[in-house]
């Protein structure tokens, strides 16, 4: 979801001291403030920042491409292994310039802040995969569901636990038994394997 802020100036400079006018839908929430400075989010989420990040990324990848070994001309047949990715990087830089040109006439769209739920979900995903990788595959994802169901608004922990176990069981039967996928060994996986008789 992105809230819209109209910008009078054609320049894409995010911190120019111009009037920032909000859209009529949010009138009354943010009034006209002459000389107001855009917040940190409009500094981050604007095309200039994106362009800087992209060019820095292209520069870094170009440096990495110079480490790709050269091959004899007879083998390269006119195109060294690094040439093609370097050509693509040139196009990305050109499109970045095009993006800055397009952004001149486009009002700055500042997205809403990242909700806490998004960060919590990301953290839960990473934690779940750490548990799945080093403890038990299914335990990690079951824990993710148990944690996220209440986080996402359904504060019924028993239901969440039962639901997580039921989904895990169905997917284990589908993939592990029916499709013969071998899941990594872990505490629960070994137990279930013994119960199922594999």
């Amino acid at each position: 979801m992105r809230s819209r802020r109209s910008r009078r100036s054609a320049c894409c400079n995010p911190i120019a001291a111009e009037t920032i006018v909000t859209h009529p839908e949010s009138a009354g929430v943010n009034e006209r403030r002459p000389g107001a400075i855009a917040g940190l989010r409009s500094l981050i989420y604007n095309d200039v920042t994106a362009a800087v990040l992209l060019i820095a990324f292209c520069g870094f990848v170009y440096y990495l491409s110079t480490q790709i070994r050269q091959v004899p001309d007879a083998l390269a047949q006119g195109m060294q292994p690094a040439s093609y990715p370097q050509g693509v990087l040139v196009f990305i830089v050109a499109f970045t310039a095009m993006m800055l040109f397009e952004s001149r006439a486009r009002p700055l769209d500042v997205p809403e802040p990242v909700p806490g739920l998004a960060y919590a979900t990301m953290a839960a995903m990473v934690a779940a995969l750490i548990v799945s990788t080093w403890v038990d595959f299914f335990l990690g994802i079951i824990l993710f569901v148990i944690v996220c169901v209440p986080l996402w608004g359904m504060r019924r922990y028993l239901l969440a636990t039962l639901y997580a176990i039921a989904v895990a069981a169905v997917l284990y039967l589908l993939f592990g038994v029916f499709l013969s996928v071998r899941f990594p060994s872990g505490v629960i996986s070994n137990l279930v394997s013994r119960l199922v008789g594999q």
């Binding site: 979801m1 060294q80 397009e102 990788t133 994802i141 169901v149 990594p184």
Partner: protein, 502 residues
């Protein structure tokens, strides 16, 4: 004729028919649930289809694709939230109709329009795809390079914040496709010494991350959204008067949708928008549009469904995806060892007729399924997001792992999911990135082969008329959003001048 009969005979296998029914049910359920689209569903189920033969796999994936295109209308009409992005335009007239007590009528019109358009596009597919494949026989590596470039240029007009961002996203996808061993020289590129990266990044976990995990994280922004749901008592078939009013819109939507579906990278969303605008332009009841026009509803629904058959034409005839869903299907076919392109039509023509049969059966079956069971499917809109979305992560993890039984694929899936989320926050669409990764290999291969043929003289590209044609189309694709904006601005300015009082 033999190939046609062999293709249709695949339907005689009860397993294929069962998979079609399962696909219709899954596609309908997914189509009704906002946020989960056919692209995500096919990406999530792709690992599951790897153990199947190509035809059963396609039975499942194509029936999901067809049903999803239909079913997005149900939540668009009842809840004013499109079940899939291609049903966005359906909200404009479907929901107002539902609000004044005509939900059953709206759904009936949407279902019939979808079915007619779907059948139309499948017939065009079975006629048009072989013709296009015959033309593609003339293609050599230079033509394939130009065609792939054209396919990539079309990502410029996918929804997002401007064509340049889509092109950057597509180019990043092409760059990611260079990871691995260069097939000509054997040199490793961007592998950082990891053995797992020598064969390149695996596409399926990336697709799952970009389409499933990214959407899961985007849903955290709308978790508290309260939607007003209109109850559905029964679906009503259109009356004779309704048919008289909407047949032109259905015909126009079918034609426009099929044509736009054929264009690489465009899909149902663009098709429904264009068809809606066109039908409104020549309708005698312009004032009804946006307030419950059955013509507008019929145009939108017929276009987004006919784009399904249209999108299959370049996917199978040329190996260039016609939409994001067919991009995923293309990955699945390639992983199965099926090589889309003109050789497929020559060596395995029954394959094409099998796809025709699957899509025809899916379209007809959904008509009955929709009429009978729409009321029950509509209850799915009551499923809490708190149960739904954590399950998507479950499926995404298991699906990514099951491909090669490697946890690295799961971590790649998660990394791209988070990357996709921040890309969308910066206004970059993830669909071009996916298409860039899929087409990147073909682009590089055909370029290198072309340079070999041309003895490193790139100007020889311009001596081949088909290459020139596709290069011109590519330039048009890149700059068409700007051209259309310019034309629209001039038209608006002219309209403003004529409407100003003298």
């Amino acid at each position: 004729m033999t190939a046609f009969l062999e293709g249709v005979a695949f339907l005689g296998d009860p397993w294929n028919l069962t998979l079609i029914v399962i696909g219709l049910l899954i596609g309908t359920m997914i189509g009704i649930l906002p946020g989960i689209g056919a692209t995500m569903t096919t990406a999530l189920l792709l690992p599951f289809t790897m153990v199947m033969d190509p035809i059963p796999a396609l039975s499942l994936l194509l029936s999901i694709y067809c049903a999803n295109a239909f079913a997005g209308a149900i939540s668009a009409i009842l809840v004013n939230v499109p079940g899939s992005s291609s049903a966005m335009v359906t909200c404009l007239d479907g929901y107002p109709l539902a609000k004044r007590g005509e939900a059953g009528r709206a759904l009936g019109i949407a279902t019939v329009a979808s079915t007619v358009a779907g059948i139309f596009s499948v017939i065009v597919f079975v006629i048009g795809a072989p013709l296009l494949a015959r033309v593609a026989y003339q293609f050599g590596p230079p033509e394939y390079f130009a065609l792939t470039l054209f396919g990539l240029s079309m990502v410029a007009s996918i929804s997002g914040e401007g064509s340049a961002k889509n092109l950057i996203s597509g180019a990043l996808g092409v760059l990611l496709a260079t990871v691995g061993v260069d097939y000509v020289t054997g040199a490793e590129r961007f592998t950082f010494g990891y053995l797992e990266l020598t064969s390149g990044l695996k596409v399926i976990p990336i697709l799952i991350g970009l389409f499933a995990i990214t959407e899961l994280l985007m849903q955290t922004h709308v978790i508290h959204l309260v939607v007003e749901r209109i109850a559905l008592k029964a679906m009503k078939l259109p009356t004779w008067e309704d048919y008289k009013r909407t047949w032109r819109a259905i015909l126009a939507g079918s034609g426009i949708g099929t044509f736009i579906g054929v264009l690489p990278a465009e899909g149902g969303t663009v098709a429904s928008l264009v068809a809606y605008n066109e039908v409104r332009r020549w309708s005698k009841n312009k004032s009804e549009f946006g307030k419950g026009s059955i013509e507008g509803l019929a145009a939108a629904e017929s276009a987004n469904n006919s784009a399904v058959g249209g999108a299959m034409i370049p996917t199978l005839a040329l190996g260039i995806p016609g939409s994001s869903v067919t991009a995923v299907i293309l990955v699945g076919l390639t992983a199965q060892g099926v090589r889309p392109g003109p050789y497929l039509f020559n060596q395995q023509p029954e394959f094409i007729y099998a796809i025709f049969s699957i899509m025809m059966v899916s379209n007809v079956a959904w008509l009955f399924l929709g009429l009978i069971a729409a009321r029950f499917f509509a209850l799915l809109t009551l499923v809490p997001n708190a149960l739904l979305w954590p399950s998507v992560f479950f499926l995404a993890v298991i699906g990514s792992y099951s491909l090669d039984q490697s946890m690295l694929d799961v971590w790649v899936m998660l990394a791209f999911g988070i990357l996709g989320y921040y890309m969308r926050r910066f206004g970059f669409s993830v669909v071009p990135l996916a298409i860039g990764i899929i087409l990147g290999d073909i682009l590089e291969t055909s370029l290198k082969q072309s340079m070999l043929i041309f003895k490193q003289d790139a100007t020889l590209f311009f001596e081949r008329p088909i290459c020139l044609f596709f290069f011109a189309c590519a330039l048009l694709g890149v700059f068409s959003p700007h051209i259309f904006n310019f034309i629209n601005r001039r038209r608006d300015a002219a309209a403003l001048r004529t409407s100003e009082p003298e």
